[in-house]
């Protein structure tokens, strides 16, 4: 049944030029705007394939792909945190593909692809951490935090901000990392102690570090590359790699099942894993670690080798069952506590 559906969708796309877009490749992009644009332009220059790009956050893109499942409009989905990509793979919304570029990649990228039945692949990774506003810290005369444990100290009461794990993938990664680092009981105990210091659970994942930049909070828990980007944008933010070690995300790429331009989608997929394509990140101040082994590293980027990364179990903690369980536990046991 599924196969026929798929074939019908494909033929419908080619037979009836109907409402199919005019471009040769429809790219859904979930990274930052400039990065998406430079990827679009450079791919067009490299291959002559005309690209129509739409930029949306990974959650929105996932919702759109889900809604469009019976009549896909996009071909390839590039960028954005790995969990929605994994979930799309789980829900059979994306197409398995083994790229010839695979031997040039870091092991963590390949491991992620294998865990998802080759339906997605890592293009960059970024470690979780936090950043603080150095001017505020000095004014308040407080010590600089260096570890996760520091964030629960009473002197930072009402000064730490993180996103709400219910709405943000970044915050969910934080929760899942704590559970993996300290065990389920220890992890939740940590979240409870941290809760006492939190001034706000924001909706969006990178909001806490922007608030820190503007002096609206002292500390924001975010991905380290977001903190570095805030510093580079001119804000007085210092990035910290927590001493206990930390979890990380893998920014991913998937081909959408039933893509109308399958060949072009694969061409983009292969190109996006090349060193040339991945070096573009530096031009747009994206400080993630790229998945191609040969990709150039920025001196401003947090060096993944110097950060203690935990062995993050993407398959388990990316699955919707585990996610639902942890989130509802966080909802009932942590978020309801008095602050």
């Amino acid at each position: 049944m599924m196969k026929r559906t798929f074939a019908a969708a494909l033929t419908s796309a080619t037979a009836l030029s109907g409402t199919a877009a005019l471009a040769d490749l429809n790219l859904y992009c979930s990274a930052q705007e400039e990065w998406c644009q430079i990827m679009e332009k450079s791919f067009e220059e490299a291959t002559g394939i005309d690209v129509a790009m739409t930029r949306k956050s990974s959650g929105e893109t996932f919702a759109q792909i889900q809604a469009e499942a019976s009549n896909p409009k996009g071909d390839v989905w590039w960028g954005g945190t790995g969990d929605p990509h994994l979930q799309a793979a789980e829900e059979d919304l994306t197409e398995p593909y083994v790229s010839p570029m695979r031997d040039q990649l870091h092991p963590w990228a390949i491991a992620q692809a294998e865990s998802a039945g080759d339906k997605t692949i890592g293009i960059y990774s970024g470690a979780l951490g936090f950043g603080y506003n150095s001017e505020m810290l000095e004014k308040a005369g407080l010590p600089a935090p260096a570890c996760w444990e520091d964030l629960t100290k009473p002197e930072y009461k009402g000064m730490v901000q993180m996103a709400n794990p219910n709405s943000s993938g970044t915050a969910y990664t934080t929760l899942a990392s704590m559970v993996q680092m300290f065990g389920e009981d220890g992890g939740f105990d940590y979240m409870k102690r941290l809760h006492a210091n939190i001034n706000q659970y924001t909706k969006s994942g990178s909001a806490p570090i922007k608030a820190a930049g503007q002096g609206e909070t002292l500390i924001g828990i975010v991905f380290m590359h977001d903190a570095v980007a805030t510093t580079v944008a001119g804000f007085p933010v210092v990035t910290v790699a927590p001493c206990e070690g930390t979890g990380y995300e893998i920014g991913s790429m998937s081909i959408i099942k039933g893509a109308r331009n399958m060949d072009e989608a694969k061409a983009f997929y292969d190109w996006a894993l090349s060193k040339e394509a991945q070096d573009l990140a530096l031009q747009v101040n994206a400080f993630q670690v790229m998945s191609n082994v040969g990709a150039t590293k920025s001196d401003k980027a947090p060096d993944l080798a110097s950060i203690k990364l935990i062995d993050y179990d993407f398959k388990k903690y990316g699955s919707s069952d585990e996610r639902k369980r942890l989130l509802s536990k966080w909802d009932t046991e942590v978020s309801t506590l008095p602050q």
Partner: protein, 736 residues
């Protein structure tokens, strides 16, 4: 007089629709072609190519045979062409043909999709269908309209609405489009509220999810946190009441005082409505946030510690008051102007003092305006999404919860749908409360009888507090906009205050090269798309809104309440839900328009139409029915009456609808974010991309530029529509 038209054998409009039906069926491509406005199909194999063939050709070569029965419905009206309107057969044939044709067209569209039959039971009934069809195109659209209007002609001929063809057709048309673009997508979305995890539907599963503590919890009474439903309700009531009062204060100063700089004040009240989302929120943070100018200086002055007091209810409330007071003002100014001075003069002749006159005459006559202003403020606040996102702190409201239930880490569509049901319940509750308060009284004041005179000034006891409020609020608005303008010309807002124009250059650069002008700024693409879509959507919105208002105030017909409810529905549901509902409903045949500019235009029309309807109703309930009646007695039909009598008196409402829909098309974000595509990106979604990326300067510069563009557009609209001269009134300002 009327008998003359009855003697005529056939209405020319009927002939037009019969021809339209045949053209749609036999000449135009039946299915959707690439690009609504592209006419490439004319030279690309039409009419024989399968993709572009009209229905008649498809049926003729033995394809898509399910389209054939419509021929009957097209042929039948030809039989009654020679008959009189009073002949019962005339009405019966038209009703049967139009009704059957339309029903069949809809049924085949819904029943047969991309993969043959769309429902299991159709396959069991008729066996597997080895054919399929795509989204409907021009042909289907024209033929469907033809069937619809044949049907309404038939209904009119049977004597409904006094045999008035214009009114029956207008009712039929509005019901059809509202059903397709409001009820249909929302039903699809709400079905998700009953969805279970395994893909089925269950009514029982709905209740535990609906009565969840996170929605209805009352812990805040005992020191904890309350459910989102209560938060939203509290906020919306506060915003509704306060925006109405503020809007009224501005309207009173403009109409009933000797204040000199009315134009300036008017421009000031319009400013917030033309401000793209997030910008007001950012300015408020820079003023009142933990490191904000006001907070830090107050903290230093009084020796207290700066706090994050703005995050939560206070912040959202301030931002929403700034944003929505203009809407209340736009509704109220028409009503306050419309209250007839003769009534107030009558009161004064009867020795009422100015205060008594205001309290017993002017105020009660303003009630429809007050109620409508409150309703709009309430609904806007419920559906607002940008301000709570920036300033909400830990004060969760329904609209953001819905958004993050859909796009957040949980992807819980059914929770989103349930929250949408709660939100809808509140807005409908407010709607009925408003009707209850207005009751069945008459608010007619514009009668066409002698209506000279000017509005008496406000009584002093009222005037001083009103002046104070208006002065304070204007000053505050100016400060906020000063901050925004400043933010667009500094290097990095809040950190590096070096003056620079680089943000404007990045966004709106134009280069002069050998090939001519090159729009190299990064904002141009989304800017032109937005302008085009806003320009297309505004007049359509105003037209549909005012026709609907006319039907609701001037005509009585069965199901009027349900009809009125339907027109308010899309406004009461937050844009996010509309966005997802539109994707679910219009990504597959029979109507396949996602990824086009058309879906953006349509979503704006139906989201903003209620403002046209409300403004129209408020103004029209002040126009005495005797005006219509005298026009009808003099032999005009209802269309002529609408065009020549009602429309000119409705200029304030038309302006309100045009301005509002144009501006909303340029500033709305929540529905848009789901509907934009690579080819059709809108300004707001571009701006949010910049904000997400720490690029505040560019975002604010773009927003500032948009504000000026919209100011110009609003001024232009005002010139085009012109002012209504009701009676021979002049305002006080012009006398002085």
């Amino acid at each position: 007089m009327r008998t003359v038209s009855l003697e005529q054998t056939t209405h020319p409009v009927l002939i037009f629709w019969i021809i339209a039906g045949w053209v749609g069926y036999c000449i135009l491509p039946w299915y959707g072609v690439e690009g609504f406005w592209s006419f490439e199909w004319l030279v690309d194999g039409w009419p024989l190519d399968d993709d572009y063939a009209p229905a008649a050709v498809l049926v003729g070569v033995g394809q898509k045979l399910w389209l054939a029965p419509m021929l009957l419905a097209l042929a039948a009206p030809l039989l009654v062409l020679g008959r009189r309107k009073t002949d019962p057969l005339y009405a019966q044939v038209l009703i049967a043909a139009g009704g059957f044709g339309f029903a069949w067209l809809v049924a085949q569209g819904l029943g047969i999709g991309l993969r043959g039959f769309t429902a299991e039971w159709l396959t069991t009934l008729f066996g597997t269908l080895d054919d399929r069809q795509f989204g409907m195109g021009y042909g289907a659209m024209v033929t469907a309209s033809a069937f619809l209007f044949l049907f309404t002609h038939g209904i009119a001929a049977r004597g409904a609405i006094n045999g008035d063809v214009f009114v029956t057709s207008a009712i039929g048309g509005v019901i059809a489009v509202v059903t397709i673009f409001v009820f249909f997508p929302i039903t699809k979305m709400l079905l998700a509220a009953f969805a279970t995890d395994d893909g089925g539907y269950s009514v029982l599963g709905f209740f535990p999810k609906f009565f969840d503590d996170r929605i209805w919890g009352l812990d805040c009474l005992s020191g904890g946190r309350c459910g989102v439903a209560w938060n939203s309700l509290l906020l919306a009531v506060l915003v509704g009441v306060l925006t109405t009062l503020l809007g009224l204060a501005f309207a009173l100063v403009l109409t009933r005082s000797g204040f000199r700089y009315k134009r300036l004040l008017r421009a000031l009240t319009v400013l917030p409505i033309i401000t793209p989302p997030f910008v007001i929120g950012l300015a408020i943070i820079l003023l009142f946030g933990l490191s904000g100018t006001v907070t830090t200086s107050l903290a230093a002055m009084f020796g207290v510690e700066a706090t994050r007091w703005i995050y939560g209810l206070p912040g959202i409330l301030i931002a929403q008051l700034l944003a929505f007071t203009p809407i209340a003002f736009l509704v109220l100014i028409g009503v306050v102007e419309g209250v007839s001075p003769s009534m107030e003069e009558a009161a004064q002749t009867l020795r009422a003092n100015r205060w008594q006159t205001f309290r017993t005459v002017s105020w009660p006559l303003m009630r429809p305006g007050l109620a409508n202003a409150f309703l709009l403020g309430f609904i806007e606040s419920m559906a607002d999404f940008g301000n709570p996102l920036v300033l909400g702190g830990n004060f969760d409201v329904l609209s953001t919860e819905i958004f993050f239930a859909i796009v957040g880490a949980q992807y819980d569509q059914s929770r989103a749908a349930i929250l949408a049901v709660v939100l809808l319940g509140f807005t409908l509750g407010a709607f009925y409360l408003q009707r209850f308060w207005l009751g069945r009284k008459s608010y007619t004041t514009v009668t066409g009888k002698g209506d000279a005179g000017v509005h008496p000034p406000m009584p002093n006891g009222l005037a001083y507090p009103v002046y104070a409020v208006v002065a304070l609020w204007s000053a505050f608005t100016l400060v906020v906009y000063g901050m925004i303008l400043y933010g667009s010309v500094v290097q990095l807002w809040g950190v590096d205050d070096t003056l620079t124009f680089k943000h404007y250059l990045t966004a709106f650069r134009i280069d002069w090269t050998e090939d001519g002008l090159r729009w190299t700024g990064s904002a141009w693409d989304s800017f032109w798309t937005t302008m085009t879509i806003a320009t297309l959507a505004a007049p359509l919105t105003a037209a549909i809104g005012l026709i609907t208002a006319y039907l609701l105030t001037r005509q009585t017909f069965a199901g009027k309440r349900a009809f009125e409810f339907g027109t308010m529905l899309s406004f009461a549901i937050p844009g996010t839900v509309i966005g997802v509902a539109y994707i679910l409903a219009f990504n597959v045949p029979p109507i396949e328009i996602t990824g086009t500019g058309l879906i953006l235009v349509i979503s704006f029309i139906f989201r903003n139409m209620p403002v046209g309807v409300r403004a129209g109703i408020a103004s029209m309930s002040q126009l005495d029915k005797s005006l219509d009646e005298s026009s009808l007695t003099l032999g005009a039909n209802s269309w002529q009456t609408f065009r020549a009598v009602i429309l000119p008196l409705l200029r304030p409402a038309i302006l309100a609808a045009l301005v509002y829909s144009f501006v909303r098309a340029m500033t709305a974000i929540s529905a848009v974010i789901f509907l934009v595509s690579a080819r059709y990106d809108m300004s707001t979604s571009y701006i949010i991309g910049r904000v997400e990326n720490n690029d505040y300067g560019l975002a604010i510069a773009y927003s500032t530029a948009l504000i000026f563009v919209m100011l110009a557009a609003v001024g232009l609209l005002q010139l085009l529509v012109g002012r209504t001269r009701i009676g021979r009134r002049t305002s006080h300002g012009e006398i002085h």
